[in-house]
Symmetry: C2
């Protein structure tokens, strides 16, 4: 075990992720590193995030910025869910202001040739260098992440951000074998990516299935769940002590199914109340979330009132990691987020 | 009772809406009239829908087109949810390809002056002329509709279509009195609009709260539900026999709350299974829905397989109105929708 890992072994984040009592409820924010921070805009430069993360010192500094500013209880690697697909040469980029775009989307079996297996050590050595830097510099746990096979697959199939994922749903319905092969390959990407980040010093990981909420229960159960379950079970085999978080937006109708995929922690968006989640999934369920991101877009009083409702909803349960219900948006005032962190820490200090 | 209303009193649509046995499961599609139909594109012309509906013969013909083509069991008035706000001079239009836009959004109390009470007989006589034409020409019931106070209000406050409704949520949180006054006024618009359509010959009505699914349970309960409840109770008072449908997208987490607003029928999007809805709301709950709209974007076989899953989910319950889980998108092939109507009719014929 590395010295850094020892330092963080009893951190509030890792304790809460295992449902253990902590000195205070840990807080981090999805997309806490990024455009909402002036210090990010000062060093980030132009161009795709996929170029920026090729500079380990830059990526590490961006990852550290919100930890320094907010005093959050976890760092989250500055990266993107399409990194593996980009690195193996599929032909996908992240267009600033738009999101992932692929000129030649994934539509037929031959497209699998552009999507070989992902080998993190040789395909993205710079990511692992960033993780190692951070593991030696951070005083809080580093969170690895990967995109879930469905959400990454939807970008590959649609070729751009989509609201309804029509082509993706058509493929899973009319070409189940092609869809299955795509999901298997992307599950390999997620497993390899997460394992390599954990081996390099990350302490926990989150699987982002951000757009799964657009699916019916049947579609999710048949075409998606087996592949996300595979990711968690593979990671549990290689890294049995690393807490895992499973997150999606608008997934209230999929809560039981997503929970069955086997993660340690279920991430909730603002639509699902924490009380409801524990009623449905079991009273000891460890949850992450779930302040409505719109409530940190206004003044401090509004944000703290919202945070208090989340804390009341959690009712002093030890298994709670405080977060927003989705990522921080670029227009957020960092002072509001700083006030939320301080407030949650003070209110929950034991 | 007019002759037209007598003719439709025992229609499958009206029977199912009351949970009564029918000769077959009735079908209609949200946005069945519109860009997906070549005959619509042939007569519609350019410009805003708000101008098109000022021509009663044109609006009636557009309303009739899908009834003729598909043999659906209900017609739905060709109109828009912002018609009342536009008619009282708020300053909102529907930009083709974009949606509702207001140059001066609703932000302060003085904006209420641009949003006086709605008087359908003098503000939109052409709408009522269209309804009267249709009531005398149609062989199936005509469905009236209105936007729910929240969804219309979100357009007025944001000034354009929005994904996250940040400004709207800020207003309901930080300026509850201003929000309440806005909702009260928009509830008056909805009540007046629906009453006038029913008086002119419509047989049932749907309240569209399309974007309510973006709210937390607390936000919906405190800031929205009282106003939608008011609309349904006012209509029940004046038109006790007209079935009502309450519809939103992504509202699985709000299902019990929306149901409590008092509509006869709960509209489900594709995320909520019919079985789940009846487990949660009561076994005799009348539901409308809920084929995933993406499944009618492909071939006939895909659409019919999806329709069969919806019918299986409903399990021969008499209280079912077949529909998509959201509106028909412009790219849909009308032949696929026609096949769905025929298939559902044949499969459920008693």
């Amino acid at each position: 075990m590395s010295p850094a890992a020892q330092d963080t072994a009893l951190s509030p984040f890792l304790a809460a992720a295992s449902g253990k009592r902590t000195t205070h409820t840990p807080v981090w924010f999805m997309r806490q590193a990024g455009r909402s921070l002036p210090e990010y805009r000062a060093i980030r430069g132009e161009g795709s995030i996929l170029d920026a993360i090729k500079q380990p010192r830059l990526a590490a500094d961006i990852t550290l910025q919100p930890v320094t500013r907010y005093g959050v209880d976890a760092a989250v690697l500055y990266s993107d869910i399409v990194v593996p697909a980009h690195a193996v040469g599929f032909g996908i980029d992240v267009a600033p202001g738009t999101g992932p775009v692929a000129e030649q989307p994934f539509r037929v079996h031959a497209d699998l040739q552009r999507l070989r297996e992902f080998e993190p050590e040789t395909d993205t050595p710079y990511v692992l260098e960033t993780v190692r830097m951070l593991a030696s510099e951070l005083k809080v746990p580093l969170l690895a992440f990967a995109g879930a096979p469905f959400t990454v697959g939807s970008y590959l199939v649609e070729g751009k951000p989509s609201r309804d994922h029509l082509i993706t749903k058509q493929m899973m319905t009319t070409e189940p074998q092609l869809w299955h092969d795509l999901m298997q390959r992307l599950a390999q990407h997620a497993v390899a990516s997460l394992r390599s980040q954990l081996d390099a010093g990350a302490s926990a990981y989150q699987l982002f299935d951000s757009w799964a909420g657009n699916l019916t229960q049947d579609q999710y159960r048949d075409a998606v769940l087996p592949h996300s379950t595979h990711v968690f079970s593979e990671l549990k085999r290689s890294h049995p002590h690393a807490p895992s978080i499973h997150f999606g937006v608008g997934c209230d109708h999929l809560l039981e199914l997503m929970h069955s995929a086997g993660a340690t922690v279920i991430g909730l968006d603002w639509r699902t109340s924490i009380t409801d989640a524990r009623t449905r999934l079991g009273k000891d369920t460890v949850v992450q979330g779930n302040l409505d991101p719109s409530l940190v877009q206004s003044d401090v009083a509004t944000a703290l009132a919202g945070a208090d409702r989340v804390l009341a909803d959690n009712a002093n349960h030890s298994g709670h990691i405080f977060n927003l219900g989705h990522g921080v948006t670029p227009g957020v005032n960092p002072d509001v987020l700083a006030a939320v962190v301080q407030h949650v820490h003070e209110r929950t200090r034991s």
